[in-house]
């Protein structure tokens, strides 16, 4: 069974440009999460999809970030325009069910975004 896949693995862009990150969750997982880790800090929650609906986007830093999940399958996270402080590693995770029983989230390998 394929795990969570993220693309690209690494992106270097200039300040002001646009970047789109993609996440393919594990097949059949309704829950999809985006997280971000800025250098040396904790992994922070950005948002949560249940199928195609945004369940919680309280962690999104500002309106330069736009996440979508077309048809409840893969998800994209677009940053437009990118700023220097957006640099970090963006992780996607998916899990099977919400509520009980609790299940762990499986993470992708991350996309390292560098804004210069």
């Amino acid at each position: 069974e394929a795990g969570v896949t993220q693309f690209p693995s690494h992106s270097v862009i200039e300040k002001g440009q646009t970047v789109t990150l993609r996440c393919d969750p594990i097949s059949g997982h309704d829950n999809l999460y985006w997280y971000r880790r800025v250098m040396g800090k904790e992994i922070k929650f950005l948002l949560h999809f249940v199928k195609e609906s945004k369940q919680d986007e309280s962690g999104m830093p500002n309106n330069r970030f736009l996440a979508e999940r077309t048809g409840g399958t893969y998800s994209t996270l677009k940053v437009q325009p990118a700023e220097l402080e957006d640099s970090g590693v963006y992780f996607c995770a998916s899990s099977q069910v919400s509520g009980l029983p609790r299940t762990e989230a499986f993470f992708g390998q991350g996309t390292r975004l560098t804004v210069v």
């Binding site: 800090k41 904790e42 992994i43 949560h48 369940q55 989230a105 993470f107 390998q109």
Partner: protein, 115 residues
């Protein structure tokens, strides 16, 4: 304000000995706790979890202990092996408030197991 704290950024242990990684939390609504292991250039890998209704969960060499009154949990690895060298993240979640289990992470502890 950090809700999940891992106060030791690093830990070095001799192979075969016990590794103890600690984690403290402040939010009493957390009801599910997890440990993830992360190697460089990889995503976090789930290791072990514990529900707040339990005080211990064991899986092979890994045991997680939860002390709710102290809002403290720990991960014990015994015996430690060089392949255990990685960054360990403590994470917590709460079902209440519509969060649906979003994870709150600590900053991680880098474990080095020396042969």
């Amino acid at each position: 304000d950090q809700q999940v704290k891992q106060n030791s950024p690093s830990l070095s242990v001799q192979e075969g000995r016990i590794s103890i990684l600690n984690c403290d939390y402040t939010n009493s609504m957390f009801d599910y706790f997890l440990w993830y292991k992360k190697y460089p250039a990889e995503g976090p890998t789930f290791l072990i979890s514990i529900s707040s209704i339990k005080d211990k969960n064991e899986d092979g060499r890994f045991t997680v202990f939860l002390n709710k009154s102290a809002k403290h949990l720990s991960l014990h690895i015994v015996p430690s092996q060089p392949g255990d060298s990685a960054v360990y993240f403590c994470a917590a979640s709460a079902l209440s408030g519509g969060s649906q289990g979003n994870l709150i992470f600590g900053k991680g502890t880098k474990l080095s197991v020396k042969p």
